[in-house]
């Protein structure tokens, strides 16, 4: 039986961000591309100054004309999809979860009750899947990756903060007011990339207080996803350029999967 995660849950809210907030959606897509590219680059070449420079430039170029559609992850990060299946599935299932939360919050027929019902159903569906992340048994704070690739870390953090701010805008306002708040957030996001300002806290707990107050479980699940991504980059610092580095990387990623209660079968082995 294949390990593939299921198709995204169906609902009338699907694609609401794409339909009603295309500017925001395009930037979110650029961040999604950036995340998968960063992962693929780190898997192959590790996290270092050279990959930092290449990745940061490619993401900035992509943001000048952000993509209309969500990336097909297995085409952007084919090696990760093939060589680290459980990690890939956890991240892709997390991306679906994150995307659908924004779609639910942006739905034109959203009310306090329907939004809560939809988010509860989505959260249950997310958690039911074996690729859903749960609290890790132990967690090592990321340190080396941030120092080895500061520009990339900054860009990815700004991107993660965009997701949190967008959720806050959509959750804190009604459909009529959402567009103004989202436009302001998009403008600030564009400036933060251009100015390379110091990144602010990207956690939902602080960047999206309304979401955290109303839907704490969902905010925690999204913050957990961001923590997992940070821990993964830490494990990918050695890269896969030499057999020794590959062994080191594969072992670190398997340990990460164990910590986060993900299956380790299908990680590495080449």
């Amino acid at each position: 039986m294949t390990a593939e995660e299921p198709y995204p849950p169906k609902g009338s809210y699907n694609n609401s961000v794409h339909r009603f907030f295309p500017d925001l959606d395009a930037r979110l897509n650029a961040v999604r591309y950036g995340r998968w590219r960063a992962l693929e680059t780190a898997w192959i070449s590790g996290v270092n100054a050279e990959t930092d420079h290449v990745f940061a430039n490619s993401l900035k170029a992509l943001l000048k004309d952000p993509p209309r559609f969500v990336p097909e992850a297995n085409l952007v990060a084919p090696r990760v999809a093939r060589d680290a299946g459980p990690i890939f599935h956890a991240l892709r299932w997390g991306q679906v979860f994150e995307q659908q939360i924004l779609d639910i919050l942006a739905a034109p027929d959203a009310s306090a009750r329907t939004t809560e019902e939809r988010l509860t159903r989505l959260y249950d569906l997310y958690r039911r899947e074996r690729w859903a992340l749960t609290e890790p048994e132990q967690e090592r704070p990321p340190a080396e990756a941030l120092l080895a690739a500061p520009a990339s870390a900054h860009l990815l953090q700004v991107g993660t903060r965009l997701f949190a701010l967008a959720a806050e805008d959509l959750a804190a306002a009604d459909f009529g007011q959402q567009r103004w708040r989202v436009r302001k957030t998009v403008d600030e996001f564009d400036q933060s990339f251009a100015l390379e300002s110091a990144p602010e806290d990207a956690r939902y707990r602080t960047a999206a207080p309304t979401v955290f107050d109303r839907f704490p479980q969902i905010a925690e699940a999204l913050d957990r996803l961001a923590r997992f991504r940070g821990a993964l980059f830490e494990a990918l610092v050695p890269g896969g350029q030499t057999p020794q580095a590959r062994r080191q990387r594969d072992e670190a990623v398997r340990n990460l999967a164990r910590d986060w209660r993900l299956p380790v079968e299908g990680i590495g082995g080449r």
Binding site: T2, A3, V70
Partner: protein, 259 residues
């Protein structure tokens, strides 16, 4: 045939009515969407994939034909896809004599034997039953296929091996047929986007008629995302051998939609 067309259009109409949603399936290759090759990846669990195309065949002996094709697939379980397909062509009587059906219903199941890993390609098996619902069709036919896919950094390779056994062959028609397909696909975008996929394959198969020569051909196609879950596809192909009625040029254009 005219009486059956509205029913044939029903799956397509259903697919066009439903709302699009956010996920990506451009790399999930299905046969004739747009090429003969298929990847070893079933439709995702709980996903519907519907497709419609129009295919033109320009033949060497000028007995050209064209017609619509419909398909509907569903991810019944993880790694298990079921589906149905239907194709109509003009000149059904003449085409039936040379082993080309018009209006036959294909029902299939595709099972993923193995997902791709670092050291092993993805493998899947597919079984189709072809019911003789078309004009001048006879017998229920069985099609079996072994599918393999291997991804590399910038492209994927696909190999398909197909076997067909006819339930009630016409005089002069081959009861058992073999076919092999080898192909490649890769995203084409200078910016690294995954919205457009270029595909090419070569096909070799036994001729439907006992005294017919083996058929070899090549195809090239493109899949381009025009909506979150809507894909426009097109292809052109040619057969280099295959007798007096071989397809000099095949053109196909269509859309598919995921839900």
């Amino acid at each position: 045939m005219a009486g059956r067309l509205p029913w044939a259009l029903a799956p397509c109409a259903l697919v066009l009515m439903i709302a699009p949603m956010a996920a990506q399936q451009i790399s999930n290759l299905e046969p004739e969407r747009p090429l003969a090759m298929e990847d070893a990846q079933p439709v995702s669990f709980r996903a519907f994939s519907g497709g419609f195309d129009w295919t033109f065949n320009l033949r060497r002996d000028h007995s050209n034909d064209h017609g619509p094709g419909f398909s509907l697939d569903y991810g019944l379980a993880r790694g298990l896809e079921v589906g149905a397909a239907l194709r109509y062509v003009t000149r059904p009587e003449r085409n039936a004599q040379r082993g080309i059906s018009s209006g036959d219903l294909f029902v299939h199941a595709l099972y993923a034997l193995k997902t791709e890993t670092a050291s092993f390609p993805a493998l899947a098996v597919r079984a189709d039953v072809q019911f003789p619902t078309g004009l001048d069709s006879r017998g229920t036919d069985l099609h079996l296929a072994l599918l393999g896919t291997r991804s590399f950094d910038d492209f994927r390779l696909h190999a398909n091996l197909l076997f067909t056994r006819l339930g009630d062959p016409s005089p002069g028609e081959r009861t058992e047929r073999w076919a092999g397909v080898a192909g490649v696909d890769f995203p084409v975008s200078r910016r690294g986007l995954t919205d457009t996929l270029l595909l090419a394959d070569v096909v070799g198969r036994t001729h439907p008629l006992i005294d017919g020569p083996a058929i070899f051909g090549a195809e090239m196609g493109v899949r381009h995302r025009i909506g979150s879950q809507t894909i426009l596809f097109g292809a052109a192909g040619s057969e280099f051998s295959g007798g007096h009625d071989r397809r000099v040029l095949t053109l196909r254009v269509g859309v598919s939609q995921m839900y």
